[in-house]
Symmetry: C2
Subunit: 211 residues, 2 copies
């Protein structure tokens, strides 16, 4: 089993943290996205969409999408449950994980992809041809991130974690969104987001956050 | 059990088709997004994010996200399986469903949201404040849709359905993306997309497509 990974990008980090929480490890190959190594013929032969992370199983099966890779690990090793444990909690975790992705990670990606000079012609990730950066998405992305922090802070006033009482994949996506938002996108959460600070310190103290 | 629905929008349609395939029905309430009924205090009290579909269970639990609602139905009624049936197929269906969403439905939404005059100040869905339309997203969305049709056509040359041999949630998302792309976004697939035509005719002939 081999994971094609990028230490700089948020989506591969989601998988690395998920695996660390499950105690699963495998060979890792670093692919430099900024240099365009994800768009070489060699990598496109493995994943034609040209995105990371990509997991190749020992039988040759290619799983080319972050949450799908997590799903595979959840299925082959259900403990500890990271995607819910009964019909309602599974649906609630999925809903919250998708909120974190759509509201948070997408906003951070909009800011970074459309402002980083190295991606001036790569406004969208992967093997999709030339996609010029759209400056208006930088401002919209910043507004989405600010909105995301505010809403998450409200939620965390009455919930310990991002999808209720238990640490889950929704926390992983949120952590990657918050750290990518503060780092690459340069929109950190603020002092007034006290519950978000409390949660961020808690989840960042888990060893998996360093994976 | 009550489904807050919009006959005009692609995401509620995903849930209606999924339910029809499972033979599940429930009360439905139509919410007019164009008139902004999803942003009234009454609806925001049910779903603070102000998006559709939203499912309210008999015990009061609110599931506010399309794929999460499908997940709930898959868990309470596994037959027929629509999200895979073993660890690898579950991961592959999830990956393909997410490709259809990211590559297809997102492109169609970019075109429609940023060109429809009624959404000039609502470039993003839901309760997120004023988000001006971004004209550059219309062109980018059209290019994404064209790319999506071409890639899906290639995939369907060697696969009967969108995630391999079996009809799944990935076909539902793709059908909603293609029909929303051709309808609201006015970017239909072309005659040269012969495999896409074959697949579209097949899935459109299923009674669920009319749900």
């Amino acid at each position: 089993m081999k994971l094609y990974d990028s230490k700089l990008a948020p989506n591969p980090r989601r998988v690395r943290i998920f695996m660390a929480e499950k105690g699963i490890s495998c060979d890792q190959v670093q692919i430099d996205i900024v240099k365009g190594e994800n768009l070489t013929a060699e990598f496109l032969a493995i994943n034609p969409r040209g995105v990371l992370p990509t997991l190749v199983l020992d039988n040759g099966t290619v799983l080319d999408e972050s949450v799908a890779i997590c799903r595979y690990f959840e299925e082959i090793q259900p403990e500890p449950p990271m995607m819910g444990s009964d019909p309602i909690s599974k649906a609630q975790v999925e809903a919250r994980q998708r909120h974190m992705e759509l509201d948070g990670l997408t906003g951070a990606a909009e800011v970074f992809r459309n402002s980083f000079p190295g991606f001036a012609d790569r406004g969208l990730p992967g093997n999709i041809g030339t996609t010029p950066a759209i400056p208006a998405l930088v401002e919209r992305g910043k507004a989405r991130l600010t909105n995301f922090y505010t809403n998450l802070n409200v939620y965390l006033k009455t919930n310990e974690f991002v999808a209720g009482e238990n640490f889950s994949i929704a926390d992983i996506t949120a952590l990657c969104a918050v750290d990518f938002g503060a780092g690459a996108a340069r929109v950190p959460f603020e002092e007034k987001h006290t519950e978000l600070q409390r949660w961020h310190a808690t989840v960042s103290s888990r060893p998996s956050s360093q994976a």
